[in-house]
């Protein structure tokens, strides 16, 4: 093992006096602040970096042909103007081909923001941002989670990858208390549906309506080794597309915990979406399109997961086994006059394994035993194999 030792005897400037709560104020002071940067602040690594992650999957549903899907091809381009001013971007191609229609795949700018790193407790961020919700949305590189596909809760309750345009502040105080608070473009209730809830309501920073911005935030504690406990919220008004206009207040709440001790990893998450005036949305959309979207007023999901590395630190790499139980209901509580679609009250057991030949490469397989409450619509089990990597 090679050790490098460094000694530093000079004091370092303190930036805390430059903190400001306004982006405009920050922009005004930024030139003077930048001049204070010392020669030693120059990054040793290249200022512009390319990294990314990819994953492709084999999905075999019961009684159906298997599919091979290059699910995600993501490139991160980052640039460090100086150690206190960064640009971060994440460009994603989903399902390999972008053919102009959603069915053909998606090309998305998932992140593209400037980070003004003022001090540890207070920093300013603006651009295309990830909503700070749940375990997966901000931490979704394939080698860091068990399972070929992301958890169902992180798909139809928290619509990962959930991103939109906005600005806000983030920081950390004490021994591991972190916060982020952003204002962002709201969800569009005209795109909500019964199966995937608010997922299709994201505006994705594309000429996004910001007549009434949404507020989102997260508080988490990372002060104990291996433990992350967090809770997040999102609150916005999503009825801007309806004429005559009416309010559709939407609230998303979640709480999550992740604990890693040596080979063991435990995860748990709960999330709930509340949609006010869901009946009015259903009535309006039925008049507009002729199809009732049957949107619920409450959507809820939770999961618990146990993973264990049965091989760790071997020359051949690591092997982990896991199981996860999920319960998701996107028709949890319906507005008066609407009945829930029982096919969307789902639960599933996932059991599988991950092999890491390198900490940044994951070969995954799992089997999903799926159930729903419908007596008509079946919930097929599935076998999945995935290959994902980060570089």
């Amino acid at each position: 093992m090679k050790h490098q030792n460094y000694r530093v005897f000079t004091g370092v400037r303190r930036a805390s006096g430059l903190a400001t709560g306004l982006i405009i104020a920050f922009a005004l002071i930024q030139p003077a602040w930048a001049r204070q940067t010392q020669a030693g602040d120059a990054p040793a690594a290249p200022a512009t970096a390319l990294s990314g992650y990819m994953e492709f999957h084999l999905n075999k549903l019961e009684r159906r042909d298997g599919t091979l899907d290059f699910h995600r091809f993501v490139l991160l381009v980052t640039h460090e103007f100086n150690p206190r001013l960064r640009f971060v971007s994440e460009i994603e191609i989903e399902h390999a081909v972008v053919a102009g229609l959603e069915e053909g795949g998606e090309l998305e700018i998932e992140q593209a923001y400037l980070d003004f790193l003022i001090n540890r407790a207070f920093n300013v961020r603006a651009g295309m941002l990830l909503v700070p919700m749940g375990i997966i949305n901000e931490r979704h590189e394939p080698p860091v989670f068990y399972g070929v596909e992301r958890p169902l809760v992180d798909t139809v309750i928290i619509p990962t990858t959930w991103f939109d345009i906005g600005a806000g502040v983030h920081g950390e105080v004490g021994r591991g208390w972190r916060y982020r608070v952003y204002v962002m473009a709201p969800l569009n209730a005209a795109e909500f549906d019964a199966e995937e809830g608010v997922r299709e309501g994201q505006q994705h920073g594309s000429e996004a309506n910001v007549g009434r911005v949404a507020l989102t935030g997260r508080l988490e504690y990372v002060g104990l080794r291996g433990l992350t406990v967090g809770a997040g919220f999102w609150s916005g008004r999503s009825g801007f597309e309806f004429r005559p206009r009416f309010d559709v207040p939407v609230t998303v709440l979640e709480a999550d915990v992740r604990y890693t001790r040596d080979r063991l990893e435990l995860r748990g998450q709960f999330a709930q979406v509340s949609i006010d005036n869901a009946a009015l949305v259903n009535d309006t959309m039925t008049l507009r399109t002729g199809v009732n979207p049957n949107i619920a007023r409450t959507l809820r999901g939770a999961y618990g997961e146990v993973g264990y590395r049965v091989i760790s630190g071997a020359r051949m790499g690591d092997v982990g086994l896991f199981t996860r139980y999920e319960n998701v209901d996107t028709q949890r509580r319906m507005p008066d006059g609407y009945l829930p679609l029982k096919a969307f009250d789902r639960d599933q057991w996932v059991i599988g394994a991950t092999y890491w030949p390198d900490p940044d490469v994951a070969v995954k397989l799992d089997y999903i035993v799926a159930r729903n409450k419908s007596e008509v619509v079946p919930a097929p089990n599935s076998f999945n194999v995935g290959l994902g990597w980060w570089f």
């Binding site: 050790h3 370092v12 790193l117 690591d318 900490p359």
Partner: protein, 132 residues
Amino acid sequence: MTRRLAAGVVGAALAVGSIGSGRPEGRPLHAEISVQVGGEQVVDVTAERFSFTPSEIRVKAGTRLQIRLSSEDTDHGFRIPGTDIDVRIPKRNRGTKIVAFEAAKPGRYTFQCSHVCGAGHSFMRGEIVVTE
């Protein structure tokens, strides 16, 4: 067919797991994170997407601080802006990087990850608080 195939693969994985090796290195995951050794303060810092633990290190001015850096996942960086400290932390199970730091006067010294490690890379920051 699908169930039989899945059961076979999971069974094989379990069989491989049962002959798995032990952890080769005594990486301190939950040991004390700060010890005093002959006037030198030794701190174990773990890097993981996207945090350092501990993220706040308190020392008295003039103390020689030895920071032992290891990763729980990918490789990370450790940089203290304004100094010449900028090292690469090796990936999980691939060793520890040691950095020595001595602060002559009280102040707050921010450290941060200097190697892009994922979507939350910018959150990876911490602070050395040097007191009188």
